[in-house]
């Protein structure tokens, strides 16, 4: 199963290497790992997407928390959250197909950020599935370059404490975890029929 974890880490050299190394040393699979600054220059925030069963996820969390330079670990297993991925995509766009692409980008709330004689660059953010859907739609035009940041995530509501690394609490959590509730993005449009069709099943 796919899980999102975030880790607040001390902003110093070697921390990323330590975290990445821990994952490989213990045989955990990372889908994506994003590091960025936070409001406090002393700390960075990592968002890690892992493919793991319940038990492995528990180990990943604990092993992360064990690293001295990792300050706080949260998982989003039981918490409503917002996740976003950012993409820059450069497409082949001759004059005749340019307007179609611009239309598609607008449909996905993307922005055209660069236009060349035969190319066009679109910036698009959203949940991973939405970006995947866009990529499939524009593939026929010819993708010249594509870059994605990987997922960042944040819990909904005022609490920043959801899914904390309090081990005692975790240990006492009932064995049957509640299913993940993904709430619809409030105030945002629902995906169009076209998008839904283009989204690969699963």
């Amino acid at each position: 199963m796919r899980h999102i974890l975030t880790a607040t880490v001390m902003n110093e050299p070697g921390v990323l290497a330590h975290v990445a190394n821990m994952f490989s040393a213990r045989g955990f699979n990372i889908d994506s790992l994003v590091v960025g600054r936070t409001e406090d220059p002393n700390f960075s925030r990592m968002t890690i997407v892992v493919n793991a069963d319940e038990r492995t996820l528990d180990q990943v969390r604990k092993q992360l928390a064990k690293i001295v330079t990792v300050v706080k670990v949260r998982d989003y297993k039981e918490t409503p959250y917002v996740s976003r991925d950012l993409m820059l995509i450069k497409l082949s766009a001759a004059a005749n197909s340019r307007s179609e692409i611009i239309e598609l980008a607008a449909l996905f709330r993307g922005r055209v950020v660069d236009v060349g004689m035969s190319s066009l660059m679109v910036e698009l953010s959203g949940e991973e599935e939405k970006l995947d859907a866009f990529v499939e739609l524009v593939r026929p035009y010819g993708i010249r370059e594509l870059a994605r940041t990987g997922v960042i995530a944040m819990s909904r509501g005022g609490s920043s404490n959801a899914g904390t690394d309090d081990e005692i609490r975790i240990e006492q959590r009932p064995a049957t975890a509640r299913p993940v509730v993904r709430q619809p993005l409030s105030g945002k449009r629902q995906p169009s029929q076209q998008e839904l069709e283009a989204t690969p099943p699963g």
């Binding site: 001390m10 070697g14 180990q59 330079t69």
Partner: protein, 640 residues
């Protein structure tokens, strides 16, 4: 050359070894284990009891913004802070990039032990830490000096041993330029240290040294490395710096969650066939009096891991001795039959559990451990208690109800009677087990023992009657051959008045034998008993059992160990005849200085019981151990 003269009378500094049997498994809480009759006294290390608002222990000297370091160089600060943190001894080897620090050591405020190879320094510091409970300190140079400490760091990391390595590094502006004797030491050691630092500015040094000591010694202890570029050790602090440790991501678990402690005690009280499974964490947290008292109060049979040996008194009828791959049959049967397994400071290592799917199938599992990541890592735990074993058990003890559990105890006693550790003394050469029994007999088990890794290590675990904590010093998790000799030297430095014996194998011993020169230089009265079977014994055993007897590169052609020792100025003895065994051991133990004895022993001897990989604990090969058991018991054993 080797001599067989009569023992030289025990000199003033020769520890008196006495043969005393001790069946007192039930020391009262708080009282030190009662081994006053012997030379071995286990001193408790003061544990931090006061903590700051950040949860870090309060250091001996107040921290904060201070100008006390003004005008001092990094090297001067290092030495002064080592002394302030109570360091009295250190191990290491000089070299270009660490010379500023060595210049400070010239004044001999520290007892510095010059080793012959940095790996030796690491294992000495490790042995020192295991023998005393204090962190072991290593000072080495950059590049090869630092990389030579990787094996000791990994050894200490696997066994959770407090140790701090200070390594030199090239000047910080040269880092990354492939300078002479430069290596990415923090990169190389990151996976084998609890935390490591590259100090970029001398102003950070006081804080980092404070942090290093806290991290190495608290929580689940472990090794820390501090990399010191030359411009840091030569650089001066000119104005006030803050030396307050800053560890926002570090949590020290103290008392267990009281609800979980109570739940654990309820489970234990309700159980009919409980087993205490005690690991090295009990030694690290000094929880042995509590373990002994819980076992006594609840009549709970107790088994220890390799690293837990000494935490429980094996002379007690409640003792099941060691469990696991080469553990006792009765410990393994008891675990498999148990309805409540109480793991304390142990981590369900694969050498302990055998096939996980078959491990303790009938048992509810209580796990007391200070490291939350140990909980449910290998075995699903029913009641986890995260905290310091000492504090958790102290609280749990109040809830434990006295229960006779007589049918369980008599079952255990029957197993113990049927499947004792055994060997057949039917060869011309001594059996290795007989040598260890002789050492146990002469010393009464009252010595600090170290071992290498392999058959001799397992036999030492089986045939010494362990009763004193911190008396078994061995590389468990990493299984580092060559650990025995340097660890013994370190232990002797830490406990100069105790008898220290390295029970070693010929192959393990020669891996680090250059440290004989260190032993000789400082006249450390370490005794080395080499069980010389001219093979890497455990490799030979596996090749015999699983590789059709194709002994691929496991046979050793050894030097004359006694003559070799003599060449270092160390007493060297040979014991080639069975009938000289006791006399040789006595001669070794009574020799006032360092002494190496080459005990020639039988080659084709295997360690039993043995749980082959992939098998459950109850499916062990009993070998000779099963021969004494009546048929009915053997069946019972296999049914367990």
């Amino acid at each position: 050359m080797s001599t067989s003269t009569s023992p030289i009378g025990a000199g003033a500094n020769a520890p008196a070894a006495k043969t005393t049997s001790n069946s007192n498994a039930t020391n009262a809480i708080g009282a030190p284990p009662s081994h006053r009759t012997s030379s071995i006294v286990v001193e408790n290390i003061a544990k931090a009891t006061e903590f700051t608002a950040n949860g870090l222990p309060v250091l001996g000297r107040p921290t904060g913004k201070t100008d006390r370091y003004n005008g001092m160089t990094g090297a001067q600060i290092l030495l002064q802070m080592l002394l302030e943190h109570g360091v009295t001894d250190a191990f290491g080897y000089p070299g270009g990039a660490i010379l500023p620090t060595f210049d400070q050591l010239y004044e001999k405020q520290l007892n510095f032990i010059l080793v012959r190879h940095e790996q030796g320094a690491g294992h000495m510091a490790d042995g020192y830490a295991r023998a005393t409970g204090k962190p072991g300190i290593v000072i080495v140079t950059s590049g090869p000096g630092a990389t030579n400490t990787v094996t000791p760091l990994a050894t200490a990391y696997m066994d959770s041993i407090p140790m701090i390595v200070f390594s030199g590094q090239v000047r910080s502006y040269l880092i990354g330029n492939d300078a002479f004797q430069e290596a990415d030491v923090t990169g190389i050691t990151r996976p084998v240290t609890k935390r490591n630092y590259l100090v970029k500015n001398v102003r950070d040094l006081p804080r980092i040294i404070n942090e290093a000591f806290i991290i190495a010694t608290t929580g689940r202890p472990g090794p820390v490395l501090v990399d010191l570029p030359v411009d840091v050790t030569t650089g001066k602090i000119e104005d006030a710096v803050d030396d307050t440790p800053y560890l926002p991501g570090y949590k020290i678990y103290k008392a267990g969650h009281s609800k979980m402690v109570k739940a654990a005690a309820d489970l234990i009280n309700a159980s009919e066939r409980p087993v205490l499974y005690v690991g090295g964490g009990v030694i690290l947290s000094q929880a042995w009096p509590h373990v002994r008292e819980i076992a006594r109060k609840g009549n709970i049979p107790t088994t220890t891991t390799l690293l837990g040996l000494g935490a429980f008194d094996e002379n007690s009828p409640l003792s099941l001795h060691m469990l696991g791959m080469h553990g006792s049959a009765y410990a393994n049967y008891a675990v498999q039959e148990s309805d409540c397994l109480i793991a304390v400071g142990a981590r369900f290592d694969d050498r302990v559990t055998g096939n996980l799917k078959l491990f303790a199938p009938k048992a509810k599992i209580v796990h007391v451990d200070i490291d939350p990541s140990s909980i449910s890592k290998n075995v699903k735990v029913d009641v986890p208690v995260v905290g310091d074993a000492c504090l958790c058990l102290e609280e749990m003890l109040g809830y434990i109800e006295p229960r006779p559990r007589s049918s369980w105890l008599s079952q255990v006693a029957r197993w113990k009677a049927s499947f004792p550790f055994a060997y057949k003394d039917d060869t011309e050469l001594s059996k290795p087990q007989a040598i260890i029994e002789a050492i146990n007999k002469v010393t009464g088990g009252k010595a600090v023992f170290t071992t290498g890794v392999g058959q001799h290590q397992m036999w030492a675990a089986q045939f010494v009657r362990w009763s004193v904590p911190r008396s078994m010093i061995t590389s468990g998790g990493l299984g580092t051959m060559g650990f025995g000799l340097p660890a013994a030297i370190g232990a002797q430095v830490g406990r100069p008045n105790d008898l220290v014996i390295d029970i070693d194998g010929d192959a393990s011993y020669i891996m680090t034998a250059m440290e004989l020169a260190t032993m000789s230089q400082y006249n450390l009265p370490v005794k080395v008993a080499i069980l010389n079977n001219r093979f890497q014994g455990m490799v030979r055993q596996w090749q015999q059992l699983f590789y059709k007897g194709r002994f691929s590169h496991s046979e050793m052609v050894n030097p004359d160990f006694a003559a070799m020792a003599e060449s270092f100025g160390i007493r060297g003895l040979r014991c080639h005849r069975k009938q000289d065994l006791i006399q040789c051991v006595e001669e070794m133990v009574n020799h006032p200085g360092p002494c190496v004895v080459d005990f020639l022993c039988e080659t084709d001897e295997n360690v039993y019981p043995m749980v082959a990989s992939g098998k459950g604990l109850h499916e062990m090969e009993l070998g000779i151990v099963g021969c004494a058991a009546p048929n009915s018991d053997r069946e019972m054993g296999t049914l367990a």
